[in-house]
C-alpha cells in the first residue's frame, strides 16, 4: 500500500508537471522576429519586426530590449484579432505586430533584444538577433521587391490628367489586411525620414539639381500610401499637376501605367506602398534658378487624415554650357547626344530645278525642332516638312528621331556643293561640345535656257549697294580708363581752380575781420586798464614819486572807465565821487577814488620833494579802490 501510495504521488506529480508545462505552453505566444537586413551601413535604417500571436489574450507591452550600436527612431504596434470557425468550433487568435525603426550608429556586430511581450501579465522573451553594421555605403544591396500578389496591385491607378481615375471604385482594397511580412521587401531608396502626411503623401525627386539649358532633368513624383491604414477618400477637386513654366516637359510614362507599385518603404514604423504618380523629362528653357512647382492632391476622408497633400517644390540651378570651345552655329538648348544623316535625291537636275533633301536627327535629349540649313548663293531652301518620332527612350530618357524633308532649288548651273548639315550640341555626360555633321554632297546642275533668261517679273536685287566686308579685326575696342572716373579729376582738375579763388576771397575777408577784432581788442578799456596798472606798478617800484603818482592817477581813471564805464578825467571836486556813485560804484569806494586822485595831484604838484613811500601807500589804496570798482561790476 505504501508503495502504491508512493507511486500515485509520483504519478500525480508527473501529471501535474506535464499539465503545467502544457498549460504554460498554451499561454506562451508564438513569436516571430524579422529583420529587413542583417547587414547595414552606418546611418542606415533597419526595421525589427516582432509578431506575437496568442489564443488566450492580446499580447501587449512589447519591448525591444537592449539596442547597442543603434538608436531607436520609432515604434509602431498593430494589434489584430482574427476569428476562425472550423467544423463548428470557433477559435480566436490575438496577434500583436510591433515594428521598431533603428538607425545604425557605429560599425560592429550587435545583438538586439531579445524582444519581449506580455500576455496575461506574464512576460515572454525571445532570442536576441544579431545585426552587423559596416561603414556607410558598404552595406550589401537589400532584397528587391518580390512579385506582388494580385490583391496588392496599385489601388490608385493614378493619372496626372485624371489623378483620381478609378480611385474611388478600386479603393476597397483599403479594407484588406496588411501585406504579409514575407511578401514585402523594403526598398531603402524609397525611405523617408518621416512621412509628409498621414495615410498618404507625395514625394518629388529629380535626378540632378544643376543642369545646362536644354539638358534633361528627370522629375519623378511618388505617392506613398500607408499599407496598413484604413480606407480613405480622395478630394477630387484638389488634384493639380506641378507647374513648370520654365521647362519643356515630356511625360516618360504613359497615363495608364501611372500608379504602378514601385516598392515599399518603411517610414515612421509603418510600411508604405509607393506608387509612381508622375515621371517627366524636363528641359530647362533658360538659365537661372528654376523652380519645379509642387503637385497637389487631397484626402477628403477620414477626417483625421483629411487635407491637402503636396509634393516638394524643387529648385534646379540652370546655366548655359561654357563659352570656351563652343562651336560656331551652336544654339543654346541643343543638349544631348545626337547623330545626323542626310540623303539627297536626285543628284542631277536642270538649272532652276529642285532636289529633295531628307535629314534625320537621331538621339536622346530634347531633339531640336529645327535645323539650320547651309545657306549658299544660288541655293534656295524651301521650308521643311517635319516628322517626329520622339518619346520616352527606356525608363528614364527622352529622345528619338526627327526628320526634315526639304525641297531645295538650285539656281546656278554646274557642280553645286550643297554644303553640310551641321548640328552642334553640348554633351552633358562627357561635358564637352560635339558636332553632328552630315555632308550633303554635290548636285550636278545642267544649264537651262529658260532659267538663264530672266523674266520680266524677276525679283529686284535685295539690299543693293552694300559696302564690302573687312578682312582684319580692328582690335581698337579696348576699354580704357576715363579721367572723370577718379575723384582726383573732380577735386584737383575741375574743383581746385574755383576753390582757390574762393579761398583767396574768403581768406582775405577773414583776415580783415581778424585784424579788426584784434585791433579792437587791443584798444579796449580793459586792455588800457591792464596797461595802466602795469605802468603804475613799475613806477612805484622806482624812486620817482611824482611819476608814480601820475601813473596811479591814470590807473584810477582807466579803472573807472573799464569797471564803471565813467570817464572821470577832468572832473573836479565832488564830481568824481558823484559820477562814480551814479555809475553804481559804492559811495565809499567812489569817495576813496576821489580822495586818491586829489592826493596824487597834490603830491605831483607840491613844491616840496615828493616821498615815494607815500606814493606806494597811495598805490596800495588805489589797488583796493580798483578792486572795489571791479567788485561792483
Amino acid at each position: 500500500m505504501k508503495r502504491w501510495g508512493a507511486a500515485w504521488v509520483a504519478f500525480a506529480a508527473a501529471w501535474l508537471c506535464l499539465f503545467g508545462a502544457v498549460a504554460r505552453a498554451q499561454h506562451a505566444p508564438q513569436m516571430r522576429i524579422q529583420l529587413d537586413a542583417d547587414t547595414v551601413g552606418v546611418g542606415d535604417v533597419v526595421h525589427v519586426r516582432v509578431s506575437a500571436s496568442s489564443s488566450e489574450a492580446m499580447p501587449d507591452d512589447a519591448r525591444l530590449g537592449a539596442t547597442p550600436g543603434f538608436s531607436v527612431r520609432g515604434q509602431q504596434a498593430f494589434p489584430q484579432t482574427s476569428f476562425v470557425s472550423m467544423n463548428g468550433v470557433q477559435s480566436t487568435t490575438y496577434t500583436l505586430q510591433v515594428t521598431w525603426s533603428l538607425v545604425a550608429e557605429r560599425p560592429g556586430t550587435f545583438h538586439i533584444g531579445g524582444p519581449s511581450v506580455s500576455v496575461g501579465g506574464v512576460r515572454y522573451p525571445s532570442k536576441p538577433v544579431a545585426i552587423t553594421v559596416v561603414a556607410a555605403g558598404k552595406a550589401p544591396q537589400r532584397a528587391q521587391q518580390p512579385q506582388m500578389p494580385p490583391g496588392m496591385q496599385n489601388p490608385f491607378n493614378m493619372s496626372p490628367f485624371d489623378p483620381w481615375k478609378g480611385f474611388l471604385q478600386q479603393f476597397d482594397p483599403m479594407d484588406r489586411a496588411p501585406p504579409p511580412e514575407e511578401q514585402v521587401a523594403i526598398d531603402p531608396k524609397l525611405s523617408q525620414v518621416a512621412p509628409r502626411g498621414a495615410m498618404y503623401f507625395l514625394h518629388a525627386t529629380v535626378d540632378k539639381t544643376s543642369a545646362a539649358v536644354g539638358e534633361q532633368v528627370l522629375f519623378t513624383i511618388y505617392a506613398y500610401r500607408d499599407a496598413e491604414a484604413g480606407r480613405f477618400q480622395a478630394d477630387q477637386d484638389a488634384g493639380r499637376e506641378p507647374d513648370v513654366p520654365d521647362f519643356v516637359k515630356h511625360p516618360l510614362v504613359a497615363d495608364e501605367k501611372l500608379g504602378q507599385v514601385v516598392g515599399y518603404a518603411a517610414i515612421g514604423g509603418h510600411v508604405w506602398e509607393v506608387t509612381l504618380a508622375m515621371k517627366w523629362a524636363l528641359f530647362p528653357l533658360h538659365a537661372g534658378d528654376l523652380t519645379i512647382g509642387p503637385m497637389h492632391m487631397g484626402v477628403a476622408r477620414p477626417a483625421s487624415a483629411a487635407g491637402p497633400r503636396t509634393s516638394e517644390s524643387i529648385v534646379v540651378h540652370v546655366a548655359e554650357p561654357p563659352i570656351a570651345g563652343r562651336p560656331p552655329g551652336y544654339t543654346v538648348g541643343d543638349v544631348g547626344r545626337y547623330s545626323l544623316s542626310a540623303e539627297v535625291k536626285p543628284r542631277e537636275i536642270e538649272e532652276g530645278g529642285a532636289v529633295g533633301v531628307h535629314v534625320e536627327v537621331l538621339g536622346s535629349g530634347n531633339v531640336p525642332s529645327a535645323i539650320t540649313t547651309p545657306a549658299r548663293a544660288g541655293i534656295e531652301w524651301l521650308p521643311a516638312e517635319t516628322h517626329d518620332d520622339v518619346g520616352p527612350k527606356g525608363q528614364d530618357d527622352f529622345g528619338g528621331k526627327r526628320t526634315f524633308d526639304f525641297v531645295v532649288r538650285v539656281h546656278r548651273p554646274g557642280t553645286v556643293d550643297l554644303g553640310d548639315m551641321v548640328l552642334p550640341y553640348w554633351n552633358p555626360i562627357e561635358k564637352r561640345y560635339a558636332v553632328a555633321r552630315a555632308p550633303l554632297g554635290a548636285v550636278h546642275v545642267t544649264p537651262s535656257a529658260a532659267a538663264a533668261t530672266p523674266g520680266q517679273d524677276a525679283p529686284a536685287e535685295l539690299l543693293p549697294g552694300m559696302p564690302p566686308p573687312r578682312d582684319a579685326l580692328a582690335r581698337s575696342a579696348v576699354p580704357h580708363a576715363h579721367w572723370d572716373d577718379t575723384p582726383a579729376f573732380w577735386l584737383a582738375g575741375v574743383g581746385v581752380w574755383p576753390l582757390a579763388f574762393g579761398f583767396a576771397v574768403a581768406g582775405r575777408a577773414v583776415g580783415r575781420r581778424a585784424m579788426g577784432a584784434w585791433h579792437r581788442k587791443r584798444t579796449s578799456p580793459a586792455a588800457d586798464l591792464r596797461e595802466r596798472l602795469a605802468e603804475a606798478t613799475m613806477a612805484c617800484d622806482k624812486a620817482d614819486a611824482r611819476n608814480a603818482d601820475a601813473a596811479i592817477a591814470r590807473a584810477l581813471e582807466a579803472a573807472s572807465v573799464a569797471h564803471a564805464g565813467v570817464n572821470i578825467r577832468g572832473a573836479v571836486g565832488s564830481e568824481v565821487a558823484d559820477r562814480l556813485a551814479r555809475a553804481g560804484v559804492a559811495r565809499a569806494t567812489a569817495e576813496s577814488v576821489a580822495d586818491l586822485l586829489r592826493e596824487c595831484e597834490a603830491a605831483r604838484f607840491a613844491p616840496d620833494e615828493a616821498d615815494i613811500t607815500h606814493a606806494r601807500s597811495r598805490w596800495d589804496r588805489a589797488r583796493g579802490a580798483i578792486r572795489g570798482m571791479e567788485a561792483r561790476v
Binding site: 552655329g329 547651309p374 539690299l463
Partner: protein, 276 residues
Amino acid sequence: MSRSAVALGVLFAALLTLAASNARAADETDALFASGVAALHDGRPGDAVSAFEALADRGVVDPVASYDRGLAYVGRVRIGAEVPGDLGRAAHGFEEARDLARDGPLADDAGKALMIVRSEVARRRVRAGQPVEVDPGRSLSRSLARLLSEDTWSALAVASAAGLAVGLFVRWLGRAVRVRVGGGVAAAVAGPVLAVAVVMTLAMRHDRMYLREAVVVGPNARPTDEHGLAVPGATPLPQGARVEVVDASGPWQKVRFGAIEVRVAASSLRELARAD
C-alpha cells in the same frame, strides 16, 4: 631648394599657363574671324553668321567683327535664305560697328549699310501699312553730349575751370583797368563753358555707366504690358530700331523708342556691346 625658389617657380608656371591660355584664345578668335570672312567671300553667309556669332559669344568686341556680322546677315537675306530677324540682326551689327569704330571709313561704311537695311525695313513696313519711322534719333541733349567724346568734355571742364579761376584772380587783383576788364571777360566766358562741360561730362559718364541700348532684332516686337499681354492697337517696333533699355528686369523689357516707352519681349532685343 629654398621656399622662395619654389614660389618663384610656381609663379612662373602660372604666368606661363596664363599666357598660353590667352594665346590660345587669341588664336581661336583669329581662326573664327578668318573662317567667317572666307565664308562671306565664298557666298556662304550661313557659315559666316555662325562664325561671327561664335565670336560674339566669346565676348569679342570689335567693330570689324560686328560689321562683318551685319554683312553676313545681309548676305543671307540677299540670297533668299532669310531667317526672320536677319534684318534686325544686320542692323544690330552695323549699329555696334558704328559705335565702336575709331576710324572714319569703317564708321561711314557701317552707317551706309545701316541706312540700306533700315530702308528695306521701312519699305516692308510701308507694304504692311505700318509707320515707316525706323530711327527716331537721339534726344537733343544726348546728341549735344555726343558732339564730343567724354574725354574731350573732361579736358574742356579742366581748362575752363582753370580759365575761370585765372580770370577771377586777374579781375580781383589786377591794378590796371585793362587787365581787370580782361580778367572779367575771361571769367565770364569760362564760367558758362565750365558749367556746360561739367554737365556734359557727367551726362556722358552716366550714359557710359548706366545707359543700355539695344536693337530690335525680332521681326514682330509687339508692345506688351508688364504681364506680356499685347497692348491693343499698338504698332510693333520696327526691326532694326535702336532703343534705350529703361528696365531690363524680367522677360518683358521696358524700352524707350523716340518719345514712347513700351515693353517688348526680351528675346526680340539684342543689346549693343560697348568697348567700356
